[in-house]
Amino acid sequence: MTLRLIQTARVFRQGLRVGWTDFWLFWTWKSWIASWLLRTVCNAMVWVLLGRLLGDPQTVNYLLIGNAVIAGPSAACWTIASSCWDRWDGTYPLQVIAPSGLSASNAGRSFVWPLNGIVTSWVVFAILGFGFDLAFPPRALLLVPGLVVLICLSAYGYSLFVGGFVALAPRLRIMINFGTTNVLMALTGVSVPISFWPGWLGALAQVLPVTHGLHGVRLAFANGSLREIAACASQEILVGVIWTTSSLLAVDRLAAIGRRDGSIDFAG
């Protein structure tokens, strides 16, 4: 068992190395700032300006916090699209038949996305907070960076699970990637409180990533009690663990479907 864990960790680390190298082949620091960050800040800003249009400073702050947070999970959701990249590299069948299975290598390869998300969200918080005079109480300064990490990681677990299915239909990867992000933006309390939606959608939001962590972030900004914030954080962790475990259970089984019907090669 221990040996198995060590092996899995090694595969994960190697996968991360591939993902990391891939990431920096695509981006440089300059292009990351001039392209990725610019795009993310502009997109978030559009929503904050909607608050300004509505003429209510509270709505401005609500949308600012929500959109600065969601910038992280949106980046982490790239895990969904990147689940298919190995197909184009021709390395996917090799991973599927490797004794360690697909899930560890796929998880490692995609781990660069939540890392990107964490940094993105932090920077967007700083830029928009400064630009729109958001007050950062000490509690928020201390806790929000950590909560953002939890949110990005649970979104990553969720994306691994969805990515397992997307690997069966690679052409839909970007559609599902952005579709997921937009659903998170609508339902998890980024734009409107969850109570705005009908009960069943509210119930769905409880099992989605972001919901609980973002609630914790809002509490931190409102100087809420530490106990409540800790409860939100642990719920976010729980959601993340559930999705990550489901992905570990599902990814290899889903890949086995492709193995059976012979569709795991380049094509899709």
Binding site: S35, V46, L54, T59, G179
Partner: protein, 302 residues
Amino acid sequence: MQPQIPSDAELLASADAAGLEVLVRTGAQVAFVGEPHENSWSRARRYSYAFWGAARMQVRTTLANIEDLTWVVTEPLLAIVAVAILVHAGRPDLASHALSASFLMTIGQMGFWVGSDVLASERHRETLELSVITPTPFVVVLFARILLISSVGLLGLIEGWLLIRGLFRVPLAIHHPWLLLATLLTTLLAATGTSVLMSALFSLARTQRTLQNAMHGPLYLLGGVLVPVQYLPTFLQPLSPFVFLSWSAELVRDSFAPAEPRQIGLRLAAIVALGAVAAVLALLFTARILERLRRNGTLGLS
């Protein structure tokens, strides 16, 4: 009956009339060299033939590749987010803002993302060489294909309208249908012109995705697709009139407002003019860029 073989003198005379020189003649076989004279009518016919051929090809490509339709599915979802915010704030009367965002971001993504990929992907698949050596300028093919791709983006308006009406029961009456139609058409042309320009410029880049990403946010922010330009930070506002989306967004919103819109002609002309400038630049750049790729021998290498 034997086909009549022209005499050397007849052949030379007819070649001369067409602006060609006879390179070699063996019996009934003749090889010509040179650029044939062509009147503008036959050239127009040739171009339109290439245009429709490329358009037909794009219809088939898009139908066969669901990936091209990604943005038609994802962008209108943002209208739901926007209307949720507006309804929650008690301002469903501003729903046309969400609609203009849904429409312009869908048409924008179709053009600026899918459309701007066309030249680079031809190059990637090594089919660009074949297209470039044909006598018809490649930019004709680019225009046809990108016009088709962008026109799919018109669905964004219909989807946004259905979502807003269906999910939120917000009445969204079209008060000025002709203005809306004119805005859609001019926007489509401007989006096409701009995307052809991007397609040409991006094909030179190492990774066009980086540039596509860079366009994504700023254009929609400056274009005021969701929030009118006057709410932007003051230092950004002077840039907005140079983005055709800013004119389109205002006109779409005006089409859904009961008030009589003003200066329609001028505003529509602004969209057309910005699109035309982009199209002219695209014409100039595409030929130069292709020439450069040919000279460097990198036409088929990605």
